[in-house]
Symmetry: C2
Subunit: 200 residues, 2 copies
């Protein structure tokens, strides 16, 4: 199977590659690293990526940002970060990727636990993580040609707990290796329109 992994050098991306590379052709994509370069906030770079990559069987994205802000200081800029990256960036992976993906292929996107659980500073992230989860579920109904679309929603990662754990009081971290299993399930399974809560 030919599988494109965007954000392959990231904390989750590396674990995904390790979990799926055996017996498959993996095209690792990063903004500045990997086999091919692309930035999900730049649709031109995605078009170029799909042209260079050619037909493929699975697309996995483990990149995308949201902004954190104290509630009283929220302004449009905080929402715009997530809208352009986590939301529209991943929407473009579906709308541009669908023309290059083989029949029966799969697209696996990434949200984050803020769509389901609320933490201080997190409301802009909550909104945009939720938006991409719901878009993916709707798109899975409409995309056709047997193409599946799922979203993995990772909890606080063990690997990130030192840096970000204070934003997630009481959250029990999950290992990147466990999270990677949900991507594997999406890529090689039969499910579609699912949000996999990768929190334990």
């Amino acid at each position: 199977m030919k599988i494109i992994v965007i954000g392959a050098a990231g904390t989750i991306g590396q674990k995904i590659v390790a979990a799926i590379e055996d017996g498959h052709e993996i095209i690792k994509v990063g903004r500045k690293s990997g086999d091919l370069h692309a930035d999900i906030t730049d649709p031109g770079s995605l078009k170029e990526l799909f042209e260079k990559a050619g037909k493929f069987d699975a697309l996995v994205n483990a990149s995308g940002d949201v902004a954190y802000s104290p509630f009283r200081e929220l302004d449009d800029s905080h929402f715009d970060v997530g809208y352009k990256s986590k939301f529209l960036g991943q929407v473009h992976l579906v709308t541009l990727g669908k023309d290059q993906i083989n029949d029966g292929g799969s697209i696996t996107l990434t949200s984050g636990i803020l769509s389901h659980e609320f933490v201080p500073f997190g409301s802009a992230g909550s909104a945009m993580n939720s938006a991409i989860e719901t878009f993916a579920q709707a798109a899975a109904c409409e995309i056709g040609r047997g193409i599946r679309i799922n979203v993995v929603c990772p909890g606080l990662l063990e690997e990130s707990a030192k840096a970000y754990g204070s934003y997630f009081p009481g959250h029990i971290p999950v290992s990147g290796s466990k999270v990677a299993q949900f991507y594997k399930r999406s890529i090689f399974g039969v499910e579609t329109g699912k949000v996999f809560l990768a929190i334990r």
Copy 2:
């Protein structure tokens, strides 16, 4: 109680006003009709609205748009309509309204059934309805001063079934009067951070 109703002249807005006006001071707001004028897509008009209205006890919004498009023709413009209106427009009601609302007041926003059920042409609307529902739930945790925030998620309205029913195959319409009861529950009840599914 002093209650601001935005979109008061609309199909749902009229039913809300009828359901809550007895014994309360209602400030009806519309783009071109009502006691005061505002457009949720124009933050300047909202600032002016809150200055003119003064302190209030409840804010209800029954306005906001999303765009419909065939899946294969989706582009950023379809998402942007909902992002600027249904999402950011209602976010601004929270971020600007919170400084004028009395302690213990309530803010009631509107999403739409596309956040939970998927129909042809609806994926951009699904995403932005979901985003505002999740933002409201997160914001309800953080807003403080006893202020409550809820979202009413109306199904296909009986009053709109003739015009829009073909987009919602198999959906059983709900009357605007029934939908209005969920707004009443949000305004005069004790619940917060809820999404009221007003579908029957």
